[in-house]
Amino acid sequence: MTIPNDPGHLPSAHDTPAHDSPDRVDLDRVWTGVAAEVWRRHPGWVERTAARLLRSPGLARALVTTPSLLVPWLISTAVAFGVGALVSIGPGQSLVWLIAPGVAAVGIAFAYGPGTDPAWELSLSCAVPDRVVLFARGMAVFAVNAALGLLASTVSGAAAALTFGWLVPMTAVCALALAVAVTVRSASVGAAAGVGAWTITVLASQTASGQPSAAATNVHAYLPYLAVAVCCAAVVGYATRPQREF
């Protein structure tokens, strides 16, 4: 069966060589051409933009199918941030700073991997490297959560230190969740590790300073947070090195 290469052109009886009689029209070929047009999927603007930016339609498709970027997940995230923006534990202290790192960590852990992707084994045999897919999806989930969190934080009228302060611990918690998810090959365990670590950090801050929000606002903690993020990124890089798969 010949596959038409020009998708904009529908094969017809006129496409058959002149010496062919009408009863020799290759109906299989005609039908395949028609079916290709009828079944063709038209990518949305997000996917088209991603394909241009990433220079890979395959990677763009993998990006827009990220489980933690699908509409139901995004709605859940927006609701969580919305609740965080409405609930306050004091003047200028909405709960966005508390919610954001945990929500983002769960999203990152469920971005890609054997525990999340039903066709993971098959994906490993494809030309677009799984490591690249993981990186693209992780960055996209982080960016979306950061944007939603900042929006909620700004709307809630949080103090300046709290509006942006949680971004640094969020980076560390997300990196930890991803490192655990990739290493043990379980999105749930990765998400639990991220949320658990953030919970312990907040409780420890309250015990140490009497202020739970110190986990996000203490400038002296930023360097350790970033160190954790770098170490976890190194773990992710090691766990997904090509030699592990081949």
């Binding site: 069966m1 596959i3 038409p4 290469n5 020009d6 998708p7 299989d28 039908w31 395949t32 051409g33 079916a35 290709a36 047009e37 079944w39 063709r40 999927r41 890979s56 339609p57 395959g58 498709r61 993998a62 199918t65 992707d117 039903p118 066709a119 993971w120 084994e121 098959l122 994906s123 490993l124 045999s125 494809c126 030309a127 677009v128 490297p129 090509p242 030699q243 798969e245 081949f246």
Partner: protein, 247 residues
Amino acid sequence: MNVDMRDTHRSFGKNRAVAGVDLQLGTGVFGLLGPNGAGKTSLLRMLATVLPPTSGEIRLLGRDPRGAAARREIRRRLGYLPQSLGYYPSFTVVEFIEYFALLKEMPSSAIPGAVAAAVERVDLGAKARAKLRTLSGGMLRRVGIAQAIVNNPDLLLLDEPTAGLDPEQRVHFRGLLRSLGGNSTVVVSTHLVEDVGTACSEVALMSAGRIVFRGTPDELTARGAGHEVGDAPLERGYSAVLAEARS
């Protein structure tokens, strides 16, 4: 030579799944038989560049898959149906096949036609826009076969492809295999001896990680002369070779 494996080993802890396999394959349909745990799936996963060998040499489509660029080129020309293929329930048949065509880095302009052709070849035209969650097990298996052949692969690896197919579809699939084997290397791992007899030009039998027989289906049948275990001649050959390997 599309497949060239030399003294290939693969271990999982103390368990040796593949123990010193030499295999050279050109075009044609090659059947891989063997009991559970014989090492067929591990061998196929190594050929699919999903699982690295513990030791030994593998060259696929004339390239060494240890190099990232070579591995990517091999994967563009590879079709693979894993034993347990997961599905995205919210995808339609066409979306699923198109997704893997994109991940195989097919040219975008060629994808709609290739997807339509693959859908038709597995006889799923009537279900092309159906969600995967609505399909039967046999239909899902055919979706898996369609994604494997969508890029007209030079090396096609199928692990238990006929599992769940009804008899009519299995006959149809064997015809498809024969046509694909005309200009590419097709490796089919299966428990179903009759699939091998009718579709494969050559067959290997694995036991305990080793290839204990390699030849044509007729040669395997001949090995079963006088052997009593098995209903069909090819099954008797299969049983005879296995019994000999185990003794």
